[in-house]
Symmetry: C2
Subunit: 283 residues, 2 copies
């Protein structure tokens, strides 16, 4: 079933079809690797597949845009989806099977069971996307139980997510080895991300420059020779949140702004608005 | 390893020892049945083992008094424990392996992951023991992942628990068949329960009579011939809780009374007391 020669990776859409294939592999002594994705695949995802192939003999990738990790006003409906292109990319790196469940397959009608990694899910990004990590652990626990992998690979790009998954696996006792894979980057150093597709050309240039601001230029010059940043003074996006620096991605910040257009701050807070006090104020 | 001839069922205390045995069985084509218990085994538990033997070729029982399903003031410390007697009882019905994990094996240091079946856990008994079912699902999910059974048996005596486990398994996609087993009863009809050990002789007689009040006498007489109940008028234990009848067991009610001895009700409520308003008042 390995499709290294081109074409599309075979896809299954139900848990029973998936389990049939995985069970057959395990009975034949194969070691099953797993890479969960939301599709819109790029070089970063493919590097996770390559990493999984170092650890397992059969690779399953899932493509599922998980509704429970999107808040109202986020980009669930517009998240990029291109199934055929994704299956071709998976085939190009020798992924053996794609699992493309429906929402009903992942969340049967009347589904009320959640998996929560408390405390860790409320820090850093969790401050700004309060239900995000609960949605992630709830869907990843399901995917682990559907796929039954021996090893699963997650990108270090989503570092907090990786640590939360590690903790969930350790706490509950999933018999799965969790591997973190280093971040794949474009030539200017920006991490590859499906949501980079949202950036206009100027935003894309600024995003690369922001990465260089944090890490220095890619080509060996010293910090003193860094190019000037594309702004004079960074905005303080969360002035009411104490002294910590924001960990939000440009995408998260843009999305939050969209959800808060009814919000006349500072200083008043609209009823129902989830933004922290002082949202929108700039230093 | 089957110990039908007497002696003690072999016990393992770590997940790795357990996994080694279960993996060997599965590789040999065995079907693994599982019965989770908190020990203090009685005929009801043994009937669950017998039921599991109808569905599987190897049986694992766990004995673990789970701290997360006890509230402060409940009987975690005094819950009856008799390991050797339990292992002898398990051997008497042909249970192949006992899993007796430590608290640290089930809840590694820094453990923060919970499994919650929302809504269903807040009804009926969940009203009176607010964290009980969250503790149950959190430990049963762990036990399922440690034991990796094909089938698991739960008693219908704890009917809400059985339905919550079924929902958790369906929602998350555990590849486990859940079997409900009918309640084992003493001669007077009282359900067998480890906590019946707490009852004084008079309480034990009343408990049997209460069962007969609900279901009629065991020996075929008509409702008109039922023996008189051992009280004139049932107490209303939760006068502040609307028109619903209490679903609490005598044990739960006794425990709640113990936790509320500092509670000068009605009508005031002590700070930190979890009893509903009006707790302790009688009609």
């Amino acid at each position: 079933m390995n499709s290294k020669t081109g074409g599309l990776t075979p896809a299954v859409r139900t848990r029973s079809e998936l389990l049939q294939q995985v069970t057959a592999w395990k009975q034949a002594g194969e070691r099953v690797g797993f890479v969960p994705t939301m599709g819109a695949l790029h070089g970063g995802h493919l590097s996770l597949i390559e990493k999984a192939k170092e650890k397992a003999t059969r690779i399953v990738a899932s493509i599922f845009v998980n509704p429970t990790q999107f808040a109202p006003g986020e980009d669930f409906d517009t998240y990029p989806r291109d199934e055929e292109a994704d299956l071709a990319k998976l085939a190009s790196v020798g992924c053996d099977l794609a699992y493309l469940p429906t929402v009903g397959e992942m969340y049967p009608e009347g589904s009320v069971t959640n998996v929560r990694v408390e405390e860790m899910s409320d820090l850093l990004d969790g401050i700004y996307r309060p239900h995000f990590f609960y949605g992630v652990t709830t869907v990843v626990a399901r995917l682990f139980l559907h796929v039954q992998p021996d090893v699963a690979v997650f990108g270090e790009k989503d570092y907090q997510q990786l640590q939360i998954i590690r903790r969930m696996v350790r706490d509950l006792g999933f018999p799965i080895e969790i591997i973190g894979a280093s971040t794949a980057r474009d030539a200017d150093g920006l991490a590859q991300s499906s949501r980079n597709l949202y950036l206009k050309p100027e935003e894309r240039r600024n995003a690369g420059a922001m990465q260089q601001l944090f890490t220095g230029p890619r080509s060996g010059s010293s910090p003193a020779n860094r190019p000037p940043p594309p702004w004079r003074k960074p905005a303080r996006f969360w002035p009411g949140q104490g002294s910590g620096r924001s960990t939000m991605s440009p995408w998260s910040i843009r999305t939050r702004f969209r959800t808060c257009q009814t919000h006349p701050c500072p200083p008043a807070q609209s009823p129902g608005c989830s933004a922290p006090p002082g949202w929108g104020a700039r230093a």
